[in-house]
Symmetry: C2
Subunit: 177 residues, 2 copies
């Protein structure tokens, strides 16, 4: 469900090929949603069948031909209708929590190691979000509406990674790392 709307949302900005969408949905930090190219091609086929996206076949010489997908009026209307409904908070579902819950059945060293690895990942993600946020500059009011909204999604990433980092620090301190 959400993936189709994430695709429609990406198409609000401009038309994309499946390949382009796949690249944008590739990294857990790049876009607001993530998915594999297999999922995206499957979903685009469905969205086309529903009339929510239109396709233009583009012939290319020195590159494979591609299909450019764009948002139809029906697609935009469906997206808007979905947007005004509530989105309940989803459960946390972090594997590390399972591991920590029964942490007493493995060695402290092993736990410290996996929490440290995770700490580094969140550090990297946070740096990425912060670098991107800085590109919006200090003059927030000078930004376009679309840019301001995009900035607010970056804020979510920053809050998220900061909280995860703080938790990893708590745990490492507790484990005596």
């Amino acid at each position: 469900m959400a993936l189709s709307y994430a695709i429609l949302a990406a198409l609000v900005e401009r038309p994309h090929s499946g390949y382009e969408l796949a690249k944008r949905f590739d990294s857990p930090v790049e876009f607001v949603w993530s998915a594999s190219h297999q999922q995206i091609y499957r979903e685009l086929t469905k969205l086309e069948g529903q009339g929510y996206v239109g396709v233009e076949h583009i012939q290319q010489d020195s590159r494979p031909n591609k299909k450019l997908y764009s948002l139809t009026d029906a697609g935009k209307a469906a997206l808007q209708a979905w947007m005004v409904d509530a989105s309940p908070a989803s459960p946390i579902k972090d594997e590390l929590l399972i591991k920590l819950l029964v942490g007493h059945i493995v060695s402290r060293e092993a736990l410290i190691s996996i929490v440290r690895q995770r700490y580094r990942q969140h550090r990297t993600h946070l740096d990425l979000y912060q670098t991107k946020a800085q590109q919006y500059g200090p003059a927030f009011s000078a930004l376009s509406d679309a840019e301001k909204f995009h900035y607010m999604t970056l804020r979510a990433g920053i809050h998220h990674e900061t909280a995860r980092l703080a938790w990893c620090e708590d745990v490492i301190r507790f484990l005596g790392g």
Copy 2:
């Protein structure tokens, strides 16, 4: 994958029936993992086939008979082996982010409404986590190892909900709510 290990982790504490597991995995805030009863019964069948859990059929008079599942040595070993592997951070995947990314195509009022609803949920969740955390009392060092580890998972919930709340506040301020 993770669900099976979450079940094994719950069985570390004590044997459970499918119904009991389903109750513990029911709420997004109650346990470290969530799943429906359908998923749990399916998974238990698989875990039994793998020899990771054992079943005891319990006859009851004034209640339906039940099956008590407990962790086998093989199950515990599998859980331990899984626990020492790294758990990469998973993508954020919050529908609200999609909605905010293209927030300019719906009314501010609608956005404020859905963000406020979400804010209230995170408030409720945070209160729950904090109430539970207080039950561990101020004497952390007096707790058993298992209790300390459980407390650390509550800390994750507290960090998580606090971060989400802060983000909702950012967004509401931005939207002029």
